[in-house]
Symmetry: C2
Subunit: 305 residues, 2 copies
């Protein structure tokens, strides 16, 4: 089952000629979720062949311009492309007033409804659920209210072993019962134990997105099991540790520490300040704190969770 | 004296992977003016080495998103870059409410003032003037109130001929008087006619920007002399002439007709609908109506007026 992240923007407050401000697409089993929507997000979508009308859920971490100034253009484009089905936006409550203001002055009437689900500021909160996936928000600590997001696969039922179906000639009506844990009783009353004819489904995977925040080890309380992939902002290097603290951002080494605390397998770094010319130092500093896979992301990169 | 247009966006309502929505920079004698500000304008500026803080005047043709959704990001970036001097925006009056709404919900306090000059809907109107240039707005005809802009050089005084200065040894105090048209009277009372020691300054140049509009030959009344370069929207080809009329846009051949009516030397076509794969037909159709230089612009193109 596909579980993939496409980076659409990886700069911090200011875009550069190569990096847009924050946005990324999560593709889980061909369902597409957008996290943040910096200016130019819809353009990056076209450059990376993301189908704009396939996005039904948008998650906005906080109301700083570099995380949402692409939203008016994207909503407008969805309208021009003929969207009719509802769009769901999970965002700080004030987004509503912002969209109303844009709507009043700029949009012609949208042909679809926007449902805004306000993020709650106190705890880990289930925002969305389907058969395979749950999506949560959780508060982090920035200059204004800000949330992280967690994409967590649900444990799937055990799977029938193909060879066992053939060996025991298991009828179709029996199969859902076996998947749900029953032993199989053959027509001559023989009992075949469930473990013998099924195998465990793959381990559920977990992707966690954290930007913008100061160093916040207490996020551990939201994750009782290891996570697979962590995206964590790394606006600064250690040389600007004080500046990180002042602006409530993180350094690359702090991102590495959080990855270690959350027992991640893979760390993606982004939201780089434009003051730095090179990104290799971000990887180096994070690796001192986290001894597994580390990437400094670029626009257009795709990662498997 | 430099008089140059840099195209920052050339698509119509929808951006593509290669074309942003409308924006262009006019460089007149190293003064920089921005016309329209589609999403991603600040990113194109960086890609084309336009210095963002050198822009003091922004002209917005109308309040459709593809002409202004880059404005919040640009204003925010100017702030982050430390702008302190006033920014002047010439725009439909409702832009004020739009910016106030953004300001209320998104901006931290801007470190500079924005002066908004509302466009007037009835006639050609002088918006800006310096020693060398006048900038006017004039109404065109779209689904909502929309304006074109005209950048018109002022006729400069006659220039002293270098050789004449040497020949007659003309003192410095005399030179401004001669530039203003006086004959030169030498120390021995000899009268040297002005035409003999001065030459005419170059002909003033004129750049006219027209988007979005239906075919509107009556714009002729705003231009009593030929113009040098015309940028005119060409959203459609002749095959979609009816669609152009319905949406109050122009075809390439209509743009060509306007160029002929305004006695232009050069025609720049832009604002192409994304339904077309190729742009050569726009040039071909415009050339049937206008027998001089025609370009179908691309993002990053630079043209001299």
């Amino acid at each position: 089952m596909k579980f993939e992240i496409t980076i659409l923007g990886s700069s911090s407050a200011l875009p550069t000629s190569e990096r847009n401000t924050t946005a990324q697409i999560i593709n889980h089993a061909e369902r597409f979720f957008l996290i943040d929507c910096g200016e130019g997000t819809q353009i990056r979508m076209r450059q990376n062949s993301v189908r704009i009308l396939r996005i039904d859920h948008i998650f906005i971490s906080h109301l700083h311009g570099d995380h949402l100034f692409g939203l008016p253009g994207l909503l407008n484009t969805m309208n021009l492309l003929g969207r009719q089905k509802d769009l769901n936006i999970y965002a700080p409550p004030e987004l509503n007033s912002f969209l109303q203001a844009i709507n009043t002055y700029i949009f012609t009437k949208l042909g679809y409804a926007i449902n805004i689900y306000p993020l709650k500021d106190n705890n880990k909160d289930l925002l969305y659920e389907n058969k395979f996936l749950k999506i949560y928000s959780f508060p982090v600590s920035h200059r204004i209210p800000t949330w992280g997001f967690s994409f967590e696969e649900k444990k799937q039922p055990r799977k029938l072993i193909k060879e066992a179906i053939e060996q025991y000639n298991i009828p179709i009506v029996w199969r859902p019962r076996i998947k749900n844990g029953e032993d199989y009783i053959t027509s001559d009353r023989q009992i075949i134990p469930n473990e013998q004819i099924t195998k465990d489904s793959p381990s559920p995977r977990k992707y966690v997105f954290i930007t913008d925040t100061e160093y916040l080890p207490s996020v551990k309380k939201y994750f009782d099991t290891p996570i697979n992939t962590l995206y964590h902002e790394a606006t600064f290097l250690d040389t600007h540790k004080e500046r990180a603290q002042e602006t409530k951002h993180s350094t690359a080494s702090q991102a590495g520490k959080i990855a270690t605390i959350l027992q991640a397998q893979k760390l993606l770094l982004g939201h780089f300040s434009t003051r730095y010319k090179h990104i290799q130092p971000f990887i180096n500093e994070a690796k001192k704190e986290f001894n597994k896979e580390v990437h400094a992301v670029r626009d257009g990169d795709i990662f498997s969770v």
